[in-house]
């Protein structure tokens, strides 16, 4: 029984954290708010050089063959430093290709994903129901598949080169995942005004876009389910990182800010809020750790526990980052203060890949109704 990451995993987190402090952090996040998704391009070469891109790929393909558990603490560090780059999407695309891609797909995409030459995003949309007809449809015409439809909430889509898209096909009766070239004719990306400007989400419209056989992965449903589990767990870890960072800053602040002749951290109302937040943080830490283990080990219950971790960690992060604003007083409400950057991150994460109520409904179907995963 060893319910903890290894020493090596913590060491790697330490060095990546230091690196993230240079390329990311609140100042970089504000840069991304100002410049938009383009900002991600400016840091991609350094992320690649540090080895955090394409991490799940084998060394021949440019990666370092890290497991999800190896990478879990890096997601946490990315959350701490508000990394303005679709790291989770890069990880999901890489691991997805490693597991489900053809040899040709791997050979073409993986070195480029690891080298930061192409930016991958995932068309998460409304993942609870990607096959219910509201997503992207593929029509068979003259022997080739043509895509139609729209997906929303796609991170950094305005600067993406490849989009991983869940697709349904009535004409061939099945589901698939497409590797859609974002620069192809018919692909239209519409930037949305994103609350979390350090992680912009966009809308993509596909109008009669050709999907060549070499860009297809069949069948789509198990691949997509797997991607959602990985994505949710990564988001839980990012939420944890974001919350713990601003919580630490808040503690530092209430220890020095004085009112009524004392540091405000001496007042019990402040103490109790901090204690409750700490409890939630540590609980989200073990919840996301357990989910990371399930995902990394391909456990059959990974779907259940990634949903649990996602719901728990995002509820926690919303509360803790909100308390951070409150406990900073007026400073907490300023643009120059960091609290709002973390607060908006937490809420954006909470909205992605299924909200907490959606996660709990998914869990209820497994636990209460006895549906099998």
């Amino acid at each position: 029984m060893e319910f903890d990451y290894t020493k090596e995993q913590y060491l790697m987190q330490g060095s990546v954290s230091r690196f993230f402090q240079e390329v990311a952090g609140p100042a970089a996040a504000r840069g991304c708010y100002a410049e938009g998704a383009q900002f991600a391009h400016s840091i991609a070469p350094r992320l690649a050089a540090q080895g955090v891109l394409g991490a799940a790929a084998t060394p021949e393909l440019g990666g370092s063959q890290l497991t999800f558990l190896d990478f879990a603490l890096i997601f946490e560090a990315a959350g701490q430093m508000l990394l303005p780059y679709p790291l989770m999407e890069n990880y999901v695309a890489t691991d997805l290709l490693m597991r489900f891609g053809s040899e040709e797909q791997k050979a073409w995409y993986l070195p480029r994903l690891a080298g930061g030459e192409i930016l991958a995003s995932v068309a998460w949309g409304s993942p609870a129901r990607p096959w219910s007809g509201e997503g992207v449809q593929a029509l068979l015409s003259e022997g080739s598949l043509r895509l139609h439809g729209r997906r929303t909430f796609i991170p950094f889509a305005t600067v993406a080169d490849v989009l991983v898209v869940p697709i349904q096909s009535k004409s061939i009766a099945g589901t698939l995942v497409g590797l859609v070239d974002a620069h192809q004719p018919g692909v239209e990306v519409m930037p949305l005004k994103s609350l979390d400007g350090s992680y912009p989400l966009d809308l993509v419209e596909l109008r009669d876009v050709e999907l060549k056989p070499e860009a297809q992965i069949w069948p789509g449903e198990p691949v997509w389910d797997w991607a959602c589990q990985v994505g949710r767990t990564a988001l839980a870890l990012e939420a944890l990182g974001a919350a713990e960072r601003i919580f630490a800053q808040t503690l530092d602040y209430v220890k020095v800010r004085e009112q009524f002749g004392y540091p405000v951290g001496r007042f019990q109302a402040v103490k109790h809020a901090a204690a409750d937040d700490y409890l939630l943080l540590e609980s989200a830490r073990v919840a996301s750790r357990y989910a990371a283990w399930c995902v990394s080990e391909d456990r059959p219950e990974a779907g259940l526990y990634s949903a649990l971790a996602k719901a728990y960690a995002s509820d926690m992060a919303r509360r803790v980052t909100g308390d951070a604003i409150q406990l900073h007083g007026g400073t907490g409400f300023t643009w120059d203060g960091d609290a709002h950057l973390y607060f908006k991150r937490a809420w954006r994460i909470a909205s992605q890949l299924g909200t907490a109520p959606e996660m709990r409904e998914l869990m209820a179907q497994l636990v209460i109704d006895g549906r099998t995963a």
Partner: protein, 399 residues
């Protein structure tokens, strides 16, 4: 990361299961079983359980063999607690002895004290109670006024203790008493072991909101105990008492998740059987959300338990973060009890009748959980401890 238990431990789990099945009466663990109805029956069962565990080699699993323990590790202790909770095994009456006094003696006791007190404690021959709280010293325990004076070769104890669980069954009491009235309040306290069966000790039951009387008022009026029955040094009792507080808060959580999950299973069954808006309560989206939120919290308690085990393997003791676990499980269980009553809806006022309500199990959780946020340090005190000792916020000398 490796969450599985080793083969040795899984073998121990199998043996434990077989043991529990063999000794518990047929039908035990199901809602149909005629569980003890009165406090007296429950206590008799608890006494029987203490002896049964001892006879079969399940008492003091992680305690050293030379004092009657089994010489195993924490892991076996955890597995045993889990398995007991899974089948709703009886609760013994020597929890304070096993959970608090024993561990304290193992750390702070003299060799003679360990040899004298631990074997009969494990055998269920001597039951212990904890004499800390007083009518005017609860959260502010260090303000206690019960006195002990040295008279010849004995200590003479005078004062009143209150909320003393199981005092009516106890043979011994571990008492915090003031031995130096002139010292600052934390410095003049001594940790004493006092025999209960003597003229100077009066025990009066206090009825709890559950209707039962498991706790008492204990009056010491010139009660005596031998000079050597001091644990640690004279006037160093506050530190000795705090050694066990972190045992108390930390170790009790491990295995608890299994008990709570059993209650949750009973609640889910009740939700399937009881009406909600538009179908059963289990189909009602409001209850589905709340049930899964609590289910998640119980699972998180299981993960916290793994974390504790991992730490104990290398650290041997928990620090102030044990307060976090105590706060976590007690507040969660209270929310669980409230949710259970909400699910029962119009059946809520009755704890009998419906089989699915777990033969009163849910009502016991509902009422019993109200004590968990009070005993062993209230939730407010735990939050103070977390804020000051874990998070380093400025200390407030009012506690």
């Amino acid at each position: 990361m490796d969450i599985a238990f080793g083969k040795e431990q899984e073998d121990f789990r199998d043996r434990t299961r077989q043991f529990l099945q063999a000794v518990l009466p047929p039908g035990w663990g199901t809602s149909r079983h005629p569980y003890p109805q009165t406090a007296k029956e429950e206590e008799e069962l608890g006494m029987w359980w203490e002896r049964t565990l001892w006879e079969h080699g399940y008492a003091g699993l992680s305690w050293p063999q030379n004092y009657g323990g089994q010489g195993l590790t924490w892991l076996e202790q955890v597995i045993f607690s889990e398995e007991c909770a899974r089948v709703n095994a009886p609760v013994g009456v020597n929890g304070l002895g096993k959970g608090l006094l024993g561990p304290t003696l193992l750390v702070e006791g003299t060799e003679a004290q360990k040899r004298r007190f631990i074997p009969p404690l494990l055998a269920g021959e001597e039951i212990w109670c904890q004499g800390y709280s007083e009518p005017n010293a609860g959260s502010d325990l260090a303000s206690l006024t019960t006195r002990a004076e040295r008279v010849g070769e004995e200590w003479v104890v005078t004062g009143q203790k209150i909320w003393t669980s199981y005092a009516h069954l106890a043979d011994w009491c571990f008492v915090l008493a003031r031995t130096d009235a002139s010292a600052p309040k934390h410095r003049g306290i001594t940790f004493l072991l006092v025999p209960m069966h003597q003229a100077g000790v009066k025990v009066e039951p206090l009825r709890q909101l559950t209707g039962e009387a498991h706790f008492n008022s204990v009056t010491f009026d010139g009660a005596r105990t031998a000079l050597e029955n001091v644990v640690g040094q004279v006037n160093d009792g506050w530190r000795v008492a705090n050694t066990i507080l972190s045992f108390e808060r930390g170790t009790w959580i491990v295995g608890r998740h299994a008990q709570y999950m059993r209650e949750m299973d009973a609640l889910l069954q009740a939700a399937r059987d009881l009406p909600g808006t538009g179908g059963s309560a289990a189909q009602d989206s409001y209850f589905r959300q709340r049930l899964m939120a609590l289910w998640s919290e119980i699972e998180v308690l299981r993960f916290h338990g793994y974390q504790v085990i991992t730490q104990l393997q290398t650290k041997s003791q928990l620090g102030p973060e044990a307060s976090m676990l105590k706060l976590y499980y007690s507040e969660m269980h209270k929310r669980f009890g409230e949710l259970a009553m909400e699910v029962l809806g119009s059946h809520m006022p009755f704890s009998e009748g419906l089989e699915s309500v777990g033969a009163g199990l849910l009502h016991r959780a509902f009422l019993g959980s109200r004590a968990e946020t009070i005993f062993a340090g209230t939730s407010e005190i735990q939050r103070n401890v977390i804020a000051e000792r874990v998070l380093g916020l400025p200390k407030d000398d009012r506690h």
